[in-house]
């Protein structure tokens, strides 16, 4: 059977329908029941099957072409000329792989640490997975928008139901920030639809737009995407959301959902609004650099591990937007490709590293029920294997060469030096700040003598935790030591994107 024509639908709808099935079956109100255990197993199987499908996608992905692959296209709402239009290229395929890779790990990580409504919890993650893959695969604006908004619901439930004490505040903030942004994106889509006669992304790219139109649409997109990334100054929802979210929620939020913003910029803003992007590039670079430096300092002062990693995420995502918008100050030619590629590699790497960091915090939280740095100290004495993982991921977070964290940062720093010495100067400050906040935390949590009786009572990793962290460690090292496969996947598409954005619409 040739899967190529339905692979994207399968990737999208298999986890969603699996999730709905788990939701329907439920756990009978007893998390210890055999039914709950069955649901766990079912959820894991569905997510693993989805991962296998994504491996199929990777194996059959043609890195030599920039055109959309695995395209599925059929009329959907004919009256409005809306299509069910899916396809992937070098920008979206790696993100789909990331999503399918992370979700099983989240399910393994939540295996028996979720005591309350486990079936619903796993169902939410499966549905979320399908919706996220849908976002990355959709090539029709309306379809894209539906996945985009629907994605909020499961995440919102994950934080609202399984979250911490201030979960309602955090959920509300998360919801309002992201929702307000996305509504403007819908308005922009409708405007473009009125001019192009369809929601097809390719029609949007071809559509001639005046500078004013481009500027306004850019701002509408910007609000939607900047909130998701998140960029300074619309970042304040993220630390709250992370702190209140359960471990799995934080992992997915950091690893995949933040990538929606970055993805939006490369999928929509840059190719559709070349002149608008050009106009705002200076501002985008400035905001990115503020995120890197300013947030670096803020992260230093955090006393809550999850907040610290959340702030660190903002700084690292600053590299993504910095890389994307360097194009404009360099002009066409050398450096631009490196910046965009670096930004995209950084998205994947950040997915792995921040996901792993949140899992690490989750491991500690499950045991001690505290996220405060001050409640730990000398964890390495009682959890040596865990400590080794944590130090590895911390080093990746600090951008050590040989780990995935280095690849994107290196590319973006090199590209930004070509644009302007001071861009590179400010961006490279992450070498110092990133190491300072990450390793200072490691010093206080992992090293030292056993700080208290909670730490003394810690048990090292359980097999399922070991598996989840071990797989992530492998991925972090693989991408760090040999990023060529990932970069090659993106290369043709990035070049095509550069051609698109170098063609002014004016």
């Amino acid at each position: 059977m040739d899967l190529s024509h339905i692979i994207l639908s399968l990737l999208t709808w298999l986890p969603i329908s699996g999730g709905i099935a788990v939701l329907m079956a439920g756990d009978g109100g007893d998390s210890a029941s055999s039914r709950a255990a069955g649901m766990r197993l079912l959820s894991l199987s569905v997510s693993l099957l989805t991962f296998v499908l994504s491996v199929f996608l990777y194996n059959n992905f043609d890195t030599t072409t920039a055109s959309m692959q695995f395209v599925e296209r059929s009329p959907w709402i004919e009256a409005l000329n809306v299509e069910y239009f899916l396809g992937v290229d070098g920008i979206s395929a790696p993100l789909i792989l990331l999503t399918a890779f992370i979700t099983p790990l989240v399910i393994i990580a939540g295996w028996d640490s979720i005591k309350e409504r486990p079936a619903q919890y796993f169902a939410a993650f499966l549905i979320l997975e399908g919706l996220m893959i849908g976002v990355f695969a959709a090539l029709d604006g309306l379809l894209f928008y539906m996945f985009w908004e629907a994605m909020l619901v499961p995440m919102f439930l994950i934080i609202g139901v399984w979250g911490g004490k201030r979960r309602i505040y955090a959920t509300m903030k998360f919801f309002l920030f992201t929702f307000l942004g996305s509504v403007l994106m819908l308005v922009a889509f409708i405007y473009l639809y009125n001019k192009a006669g369809s929601f097809n992304f390719f029609a949007f790219v071809e559509l001639p737009l005046s500078l004013l139109e481009q500027q306004l649409i850019f701002i509408a997109f910007l609000l939607a995407f900047a909130v998701k990334v998140p960029m300074w100054p619309v970042h304040t929802w993220l630390p709250d959301a992370h702190v209140e979210a359960p471990t799995g929620g934080s992992v997915i939020l950091a690893a995949v959902m933040l990538k929606m913003g970055g993805y939006g910029f490369v999928r929509l803003s840059l190719p559709m609004l070349p002149d608008g992007s050009m106009y705002f590039s200076g501002m985008m670079i400035a905001l990115s650099l503020i995120a890197i430096v300013y947030i670096g300092f803020v992260a230093l002062m955090q006393t809550d591990m999850k907040k610290l990693i959340a702030y660190s995420s903002i700084a690292h995502m600053g590299f993504v937007t910095l890389g994307f918008f360097l194009f404009w100050s360099i002009g066409s030619g050398s450096g631009a490709e490196l910046g965009i590629t670096g930004g995209m590699v950084q998205m994947i790497s950040h997915g792995l590293v921040s996901g792993a960091m949140f899992l690490c915090v989750g491991v500690l939280y499950d045991r001690v029920h505290s996220r405060q740095i001050a409640d730990y100290g000398g964890v390495a004495n009682t959890m040596p294997i865990f400590a080794a993982f944590m130090v590895l991921f911390a080093m990746a977070n600090a951008g050590l060469p040989g780990t995935s964290g280095f690849v994107g940062e290196f590319m973006v720093i090199i590209a930004s030096f070509k644009a302007n010495f001071w861009f590179a100067f400010l961006a490279a400050s992450i070498m110092i700040l990133g190491a300072a906040y990450t390793l200072w935390m490691v010093k206080r949590v992992i090293y030292g003598d056993v700080a208290n009786k909670n730490v003394a009572a810690l048990k090292d990793l359980q097999p399922r935790e070991f598996i989840a962290l071990g797989i992530l460690a492998f991925a972090v090292l693989l991408v760090g030591l040999w990023p060529a496969p990932l970069v090659d996947m993106m290369s043709a598409t990035v070049n095509e994107l550069l051609t698109q954005i170098s063609q002014s619409k004016l």
Binding site: L400, A424, G448, A484, V487, V494
Partner: protein, 654 residues
């Protein structure tokens, strides 16, 4: 040869992984045998490579092992450049590493982290080899950071020791300040040369030097000067040059074997190696060379002075290392790259020896490191005594020892370098290295006399146990003592004056001070005789004599002077207040900035005024409508979710 190169690199990596992951299974003996065999293999093959390149006249090899990534036409590879410079470094690194591996059996014998320690030092050997064998800037940076990582892990090896983990963090962060400059330098190289490969970049050196970069608007700077200074900032971090030297003395909190291997013989010399490797670039910027000389001269002299007031045996040696690294840096700055590498090599032997001897003393003294509580150890530790004496003589430059040849050649090179026409910088450098000789002899013999001679100041309990430890400790001492004593005699001719390095090191004709010295070089014996006419040997003798007078003959004098010159003493005792500046200034300042941005800007302005302000306003407006709604968030969420599912279902169904 490619297979041999790969084996040299991968054998220690393999051993490190096995000892690290399966240390419990293979046991203590298993892990030390495995790593020793691996490093031994690397050493044997490195000698083979050296032989092939030097005696057999083998060709330089420069090739790609695998492609890391390609983007934007920039090829990022992992590859090796094996020339005589690399081969020399490989031999030195693997030899010292092997000695330290053997020594560790004795030094760490009771340590619960035995296997972990072996894993780390083997990983270090791998990283250092990657660094010196790189044929491109990417891999150089990989090795550069990897040795930094292992250094961090090893300084904080005893993870319950608060001072050690602080020192590890400090080392990593200070190095990162250097790396910050280094990576910008690499970015500059890519910008102006369009490549990361040494060969391509060096070929483009002339073109780089003819361009300029505007960093401050309106001021054009030569691109090569900017690149070289940025790269040199990296070297300042790794090779602990002032003002980025502060981490090295603190790194002494780690176990002594790694102080010898990483923080004396190899890793800290990576900066020296890097600048020598980049000689085709540095040669084209006299401004950058002047910066290098200045930093080196300051470090060489000022750090030596600090060695005089230290009382911890390892810290005395650490300041000595700083000072000697300063010497090497000065040599780089006067374009005597070969002299810098030559001193790097002899220093690797005698300083590793000195550290291991100090470690031997520390074990015998039951982990007492204060030299004021030692004395008269000569009769208890004869092997340690004689090997430490050889190391000390080499360090102060006693005629005939390895350190004599390298240091004297270095000083000669500096003294002759004034004909570059570079002005006062070179006179300052000459004065620094010359006075530094006196200072070196003073602190070295102060330590030597206080430890091995004079009154026995340890308690009875310690004294009753004083004896040499096992052969695993003394054999490496002896094996290191041999090159420390004699290697200078045999190698000064070929390395400095017979074009050993060939094209590996490029020196502009008008900078080539070593070639000038070479004209009057007629063998090692002649070099020694010639040196007796210069001031350095007498300054060293004066330093040793002063130490003898002050610390053996009239031990009350130092105390007296200390009280009389308390201002000077405080300045030295507080290490010129650099630590205070960094910890109370930069670190605390950074935290205050963070606190302000977080609590004031983020929480108060953005969240408090903008977000909550808007929310409250809307909330008041919406108050009227609130009657209609339940206010439960999950009601809304479920409504949305059900609506969405039924909507999608309906669309798909029809």
């Amino acid at each position: 040869m490619h297979g041999i190169h790969l084996t040299i690199v991968l054998a220690p990596l393999f051993a490190a992984i096995i000892a690290g992951l399966f240390g419990r299974q293979i046991g203590r003996a298993g892990s030390h045998w495995l790593t020793i065999l691996a490093v031994g293999l690397s050493f044997a093959l490195s000698i083979l490579v050296l032989k092939h390149l030097y005696w057999d006249g083998g060709q330089i090899e420069n090739y790609t092992v695998y492609t890391w990534a390609v983007s934007d036409g920039l090829h990022m590879n992992v590859g090796f450049l094996i020339d005589r410079l690399t081969a020399l470094m490989m031999a030195v690194v693997t030899f010292v590493s092997l000695m330290v591996h053997i020594y560790t059996i004795g030094y760490m014998t009771d340590d619960p982290g035995y296997q972990r320690f072996y894993s780390y030092i083997s990983l270090f050997t791998f990283s250092m080899l990657m660094l010196v064998m790189a044929n491109n800037f990417l891999q150089l940076f990989f090795g550069w950071e990897a040795v930094g990582l292992v250094s961090y892990l090893l300084i904080g090896f005893w993870l319950k020791k608060e001072t050690a983990i602080f020192a590890g963090l400090k080392a990593f962060l200070v190095n990162r300040v250097g790396d910050f400059g280094f990576i910008l330098g690499i970015a500059g190289v890519v910008m102006f040369a369009g490549s990361l490969d040494y060969a391509t970049v060096f070929a483009a050196a002339g073109a780089i030097a003819s361009q300029s970069i505007e960093i401050i608007p309106g001021r054009e700077w030569n691109a090569m000067t900017v690149i070289c200074i940025l790269l040199f900032i990296g070297a300042m971090g790794k090779s602990a040059q002032a003002p980025l030297h502060v981490w090295l003395p603190d790194s002494m909190e780690g176990p002594t074997p790694i102080s010898a291997l990483i923080h004396a013989a190899t890793m800290v010399t990576a900066g020296i190696f890097m600048v020598a490797r980049m000689s085709p670039l540095f040669e084209l910027s006299e401004t950058a060379l002047a910066v290098v000389v200045t930093i080196g001269a300051i470090t060489a002299f000022s750090m030596g002075l600090l060695g005089i007031v230290q009382n911890d045996i390892k810290r005395v040696i650490a300041y000595s290392t700083l000072s000697q690294l300063g010497y090497m840096t000065v040599a780089l700055g006067v374009s005597a790259y070969s002299a810098a590498i030559f001193h790097l090599m002899t220093h690797a032997f005698f300083k590793a020896l000195l550290f291991l001897a100090a470690g031997s003393v520390i074990i015998a003294m039951h982990h007492e490191q204060d030299i004021r509580k030692m004395g008269g150890l000569k009769k208890y530790l004869p092997i340690t005594y004689w090997t430490a004496l050889i190391a000390t003589l080499a360090l102060v430059g006693f005629p005939g020892t390895s350190g004599f040849f390298s240091k004297d050649a270095l000083i000669e090179a500096v003294s002759e370098s004034h004909w570059h026409g570079q002005g006062p910088v070179y006179w300052i450098a000459y004065l620094s290295v010359l006075l530094g000789v006196f200072v070196t002899a003073l602190y070295s013999f102060r330590m030597f006399f206080l430890v091995f001679h004079g009154e026995e100041k340890m308690d009875k309990e310690t004294k009753s146990h004083l004896q040499e430890t096992s052969w695993v400790v003394t054999v490496p001492l002896i094996l290191l003592a041999i090159p420390s004593a004699v290697i200078g005699w045999f190698t000064i001719g070929p390395v400095l004056f017979a074009d050993y390095f060939g094209d590996s090191i490029v020196v502009a004709a008008n900078h080539d001070v070593l070639a000038y010295l070479g004209q009057s070089f007629h063998g090692s014996a002649g070099f020694m005789l010639h040196a007796l006419l210069g001031p350095a040997v007498y300054l060293a003798a004066a330093g040793a004599g002063t130490a003898w007078y002050l610390y053996l003959k009239r031990p009350e004098l130092p105390q007296l002077w200390r009280q009389k010159m308390s201002g000077l003493y405080d300045l030295l005792d507080n290490k010129y207040y650099f630590d205070d500046l960094y910890i109370k200034g930069f670190a605390a300042g950074g935290r205050r900035v963070g606190q302000f941005l977080w609590q004031t800007v983020d929480v108060l302005v953005i969240d408090g005024m903008l977000v909550h302000g808007t929310a409250n306003t809307i909330g008041r407006l919406a108050g009227v409508l609130r009657q209609l709604q339940t206010g439960y968030l999950y009601h809304y969420a479920f409504a949305m979710f059900i609506g969405l599912v039924s909507f999608l279902g309906w669309l798909l169904w029809f």
